[in-house]
């Protein structure tokens, strides 16, 4: 769960495949290992061995699927909780709006599909942004393009609110400069 080497990774890997495999394993292992320890709560030798094996398998799968460079970096992980708190607040507010629509006798729905700009975002921020849009009830990301996200919304005002960019600028701030 770290970033890719800056040198050409393929050439590197061909030269010393084992050394690199072990090194990337060591780099990725701590997170799943801690996760396993926190979840299992059993510490006898058999289960610890099985846990170690499962951690290795998970790391191998991550490496095989080419996701090794998509992990969290520490500064990003530290800024994430603040964003999550803000997002939970937003989710709660928008959920109340949707719930009111659900229970109102004459539902006044005017769904719209429109793109909202999302230019100059790193891949990770784009994922965070699109998922945040989906997570807030009332807006739903349909398709993610390089510089925009197609949003389905229960009313046009929701997309206007996205266009104003309060959420987008918070995503940007969470990413920030490394």
């Amino acid at each position: 769960m770290t970033q890719l080497n800056s040198e050409n990774p393929l050439a590197e890997r061909r030269r010393r495949p084992w050394v690199n495999a072990v090194r990337s394993l060591l780099r990725m292992a701590p997170v799943p290992a801690l996760f396993w320890l926190a979840l299992s709560g059993h510490y006898d030798p058999l289960l610890l061995t099985l846990g170690a094996v499962s951690v290795v398998v998970v790391c191998w799968l991550i490496r095989r699927s080419g996701l090794a460079h998509h992990g969290l970096t520490l500064p990003f992980a530290l800024r994430l909780p603040r964003y999550c708190l803000w997002l939970s607040g937003q989710v709660f507010i928008t959920a109340c709006v949707v719930v009111r629509k659900v229970w109102s006798p004459r539902m006044d729905l005017r769904p719209v599909v429109e793109p909202t700009p999302a230019a100059d975002l790193s891949e990770r921020s784009l994922v965070v942004y699109a998922n945040s849009i989906t997570l807030t009830p009332g807006t739903l990301s349909l398709a993610v393009h390089d510089d925009s996200i197609e949003v389905h919304s229960l009313k046009a005002a929701d997309i206007d609110a996205l266009d104003e960019g309060a959420m987008l600028s918070r995503v940007r701030r969470t990413e920030a400069r490394r």
Binding site: A95, V98, P111, T134, P137, L140, L142
Partner: protein, 106 residues
């Protein structure tokens, strides 16, 4: 004293969560088409489940249970929008039409 306060607080959270879940289910039945129904379901897994997990978190005794609840919360927040997005994306690619005001219910 603090125990009673925690008990009451978690009770409130649980009831609120249950109400949100119910609203999501009613919305699923009442809303007119696939996309709008997804919005209704979003209420259940974003807020309903979140509030219930928070309510349970206030009732836990051991740290192990607490950690597990937090992890469940984390995975809910991570997987539910992803799954929702994939569903909506697939529907869009398959040409499921968006319901507009005035169309019949589907």
């Amino acid at each position: 004293m603090t125990l009673i306060v925690l008990d009451v607080l978690s009770g409130i959270l649980l009831v609120a969560g249950a109400l949100f879940l119910l609203s999501g289910a009613v919305g699923l039945l009442r809303f007119p088409d696939f996309y709008t129904r997804i919005h209704a379901v979003g209420v259940t897994d974003a807020v309903g489940a979140g509030l219930i997990l928070l309510g349970l978190l206030l009732r836990t005794t051991g740290w192990e249970t607490g950690i597990r609840l937090v992890i469940i919360l984390f995975f809910m927040a991570l997987t539910s929008p992803t799954a929702t997005h994939i569903l909506a994306h697939a529907a869009r690619r398959d040409g499921v039409r968006v319901w507009r005001k005035g169309d019949p219910r589907r």
